[in-house]
């Protein structure tokens, strides 16, 4: 998988750190597992000297900023960041850059210009849900939107995408919106509370991690199951598969692959290696459709998240295509 060792000699003594702000859900756990798998291998092969993951106890920008400052003190050559906030870490990131450290952000990206960004177009992700629905339900209908955690940028971006989609497809109307905090039980709770007062719902647009909870809530309220957009979690996919086998239920599932952490790792390694890399890279989100459901389900760990891990070559391809 990995290219010739000799070409990598430049980074053999470099140390890379992963700064992670949250480990409390299956997506983040999958992300850490992927990181662990790929970097252990890379360290064993001598590609880099170290690739240590660090997680904060609470999902807070201030705590992560302190963590990054500590990483600076520890003399890492590159820091890969999944940021709690796109802007609140800028102070710490700037200090890292000033100390000559390469900073690569992914998933939760940062706006500080000195850092690299591996972004997913969350807005497009939101819009794609409506595009799919417009095709599937040409007549349109009422939508229930499940949002994430208020005040967080990803929530805002996906929401903006969904709004744009609704504007484009005026046959759809958002009749209810709740915050599910990207957590199954919170989503379920919120949907159960609003559902009794909603008219018939044609589809549920989500942000990932909350589709199964929504399905449960609809079932508990004895309401017909609408088209619920899923978020690549295994339990969602299993439920989808069951429904599909039972009554041909159709939907789509979209989310960012947790393995993007490994892409960020390789990008950081490439930059350390002296490669020219553009500051902004875009990775596609991982989308599952009716026809590739089974394959994706088969490849997903029980209770986990559908995932793609990146090799050095994949990373080089992404870098090259951005030029």
């Amino acid at each position: 998988v990995v290219g010739p060792i000799s070409a990598l000699a430049d980074t053999a003594d470099k140390k890379i750190a992963l700064s992670n702000n949250y480990a409390g859900n299956s997506w983040r756990q999958a992300m850490l597992t992927s990181w662990d798998k790929i970097t252990k291998d890379a360290v064993a092969k001598g590609v880099v000297a170290a690739a240590d993951p660090f997680t904060t106890a609470e999902n807070q920008a201030t705590e992560q900023a302190a963590q990054i400052q500590n990483l600076i003190l520890q003399g890492y050559d590159a820091i890969v960041v999944n940021a709690a906030s796109p802007t609140a870490l800028n102070g710490a990131i700037k200090e890292a850059c000033d100390a000559g450290i390469i900073v690569v952000s992914f998933d939760g990206i940062v706006t500080e210009p000195c850092a690299w960004r591996i972004a997913v177009d969350f807005k497009a992700m939101g819009e794609s849900q409506l595009d799919y629905l417009a095709k599937k339900l040409p007549k349109g209908g009422n939508l229930l939107e499940i949002r994430g955690l208020a005040g967080v940028s990803v929530d805002d971006e996906i929401h903006a995408g969904i709004e744009a989609g609704v504007e484009k497809n005026p046959q759809f109307k958002i009749v209810g919106s709740v915050n599910g905090d990207w957590a199954q039980d919170v989503a379920q709770r919120a949907v159960a509370g609003i559902l009794p007062s909603l008219p018939e719902i044609a589809a549920v647009v989500t942000q990932g991690g909350d589709g199964y909870g929504a399905a449960q809530a609809f079932a508990a309220a004895n309401r017909p199951t609408p088209t619920i957009v899923m978020g690549n979690r295994e339990d969602e996919l299993v439920w989808w598969k069951q429904q599909k086998d039972k009554n041909g239920y159709e939907t789509m599932s979209v989310s960012i692959a947790p393995g993007v952490s490994t892409l960020a790792f390789w990008v950081a390694q490439q930059i350390l290696d002296g490669k020219e890399v553009k500051k902004d890279l875009v990775v596609p989100f991982l989308r599952i459709d009716q026809d590739n459901l089974e394959t994706n389900l088969a490849g997903t760990q029980k209770g986990g998240v559908a995932n793609v891990e990146y090799s050095l070559e994949d990373a080089q391809k992404v870098i090259a295509s951005a030029k």
Binding site: F54, E63, A88, L89, A150, G151
Partner: protein, 313 residues
């Protein structure tokens, strides 16, 4: 020499901080420098301010569960209004301080439990913050950024700021008449009342002062992070309480120590760093934070024991 209980209240947190600092220096000698110290401590400055605010509330036997959301709110105001139109920002801050004073009065007049009222207020401030900044952003006003990143000679800004905060609050709360009244209300408000003081005014003023420190905390925080979001300081609620306790303060009885509170905040910040210097498997990194809290507090107990033995002899 006989030590007063106030001094003892201080020595123990100070020694814990020193020990922790020694451990950090041992593990990471690089930290023993101007930039090293600044990196270790600069994020402790807003925490210290929030801890002082919490300490003021605790001095009158109350507890503020909205500290984190309120500091977040202040940070959002700093990054938006204070930056764009300073006058408006100052006005909002004055309003927030007045709201705190009113809250103190309501708590006193209706004899409400402060925990409940502040719990309600935490939703309120959180909501305002989300309205102001639906997604992270804003920008730190230039002067704030300059202040927080300035590099005074010899001693890094983080240390200077901590010392100034400790000194000012020590004077305010331990030496001034006003401070005596605040602590008197915590110790026995009936006796303060009987002496002819208006306890409601003291409480209102205490809350207002606490709000002022929280506002400063929000401003300092934005100075460091350059921008804000609605959830930026949520953990300050628990951190500030822990800081007061680590610094030798108590929940009831008006027994507080401003210097201790600042030291407590620094200790908490340092404990986090200490942890990242030890390489721990990611599974256990969160747990290790709990463990380190326990160790620091165990240290406090140990020193307490030593001190008591000293006292008996």
């Amino acid at each position: 020499m006989k030590l007063s209980s106030g001094t003892l209240r201080l020595i123990i947190p100070a020694v814990s901080l020193a020990l922790l600092l020694a451990a950090v220096f041992y593990m990471q000698p690089r930290a023993m420098s101007y930039t090293g110290l600044n990196l270790l401590f600069n994020l402790a400055v807003p925490i210290a301010l929030a801890t002082v605010a919490q300490m003021l509330i605790m001095a009158v036997n109350d507890l503020d569960l909205s500290m984190g959301t309120f500091v977040s709110f202040c940070a959002c105001v700093t990054a938006t209004f204070l930056q764009a139109s300073p006058a408006m920002g100052v006005l909002i801050f004055l309003g927030a301080i007045a709201a705190y004073a009113a809250m103190g009065m309501i708590i006193h007049v209706r004899e409400l439990p402060s925990i409940v009222v502040t719990l309600g207020m935490s939703f309120f401030w959180g909501g305002l913050a989300v309205l102001m900044l639906p997604s992270p952003g804003g920008e730190a006003p230039g002067w704030v950024r300059w202040l927080m990143t300035s590099k005074p000679p010899f001693v890094p800004m983080a240390i200077v700021a901590s010392v100034v905060i400790a000194a000012v609050t020590h004077f305010l709360i331990m030496r001034s008449s006003f401070g005596v009244l605040i602590r008197g209300v915590g110790g026995n408000f009936r006796s303060v009342e009987r002496a002819g003081w208006s306890v409601i005014r003291i409480r209102a003023a205490t809350y207002a002062l606490a709000a002022l420190f929280a506002v400063l905390s929000g401003i300092a925080l934005v100075g460091l992070t350059t921008s804000a979001d609605a959830n930026i300081a949520l953990r300050y609620t628990l951190l500030s309480i822990a800081g007061v306790i680590l610094g030798g303060g108590e929940f009831v009885g008006g027994r507080v120590s401003p210097i201790g509170a600042v030291i407590g905040a620094l200790t908490l910040a340092l404990a986090g760093s200490f942890l990242s210097f030890m390489r721990i498997s990611p599974d256990w990194q969160i747990g290790a934070q709990g463990a380190i809290l326990i160790v620091v507090l165990a240290l406090r107990l140990f020193l307490n024991r030593l001190e008591r033995r000293e006292k008996i002899q």
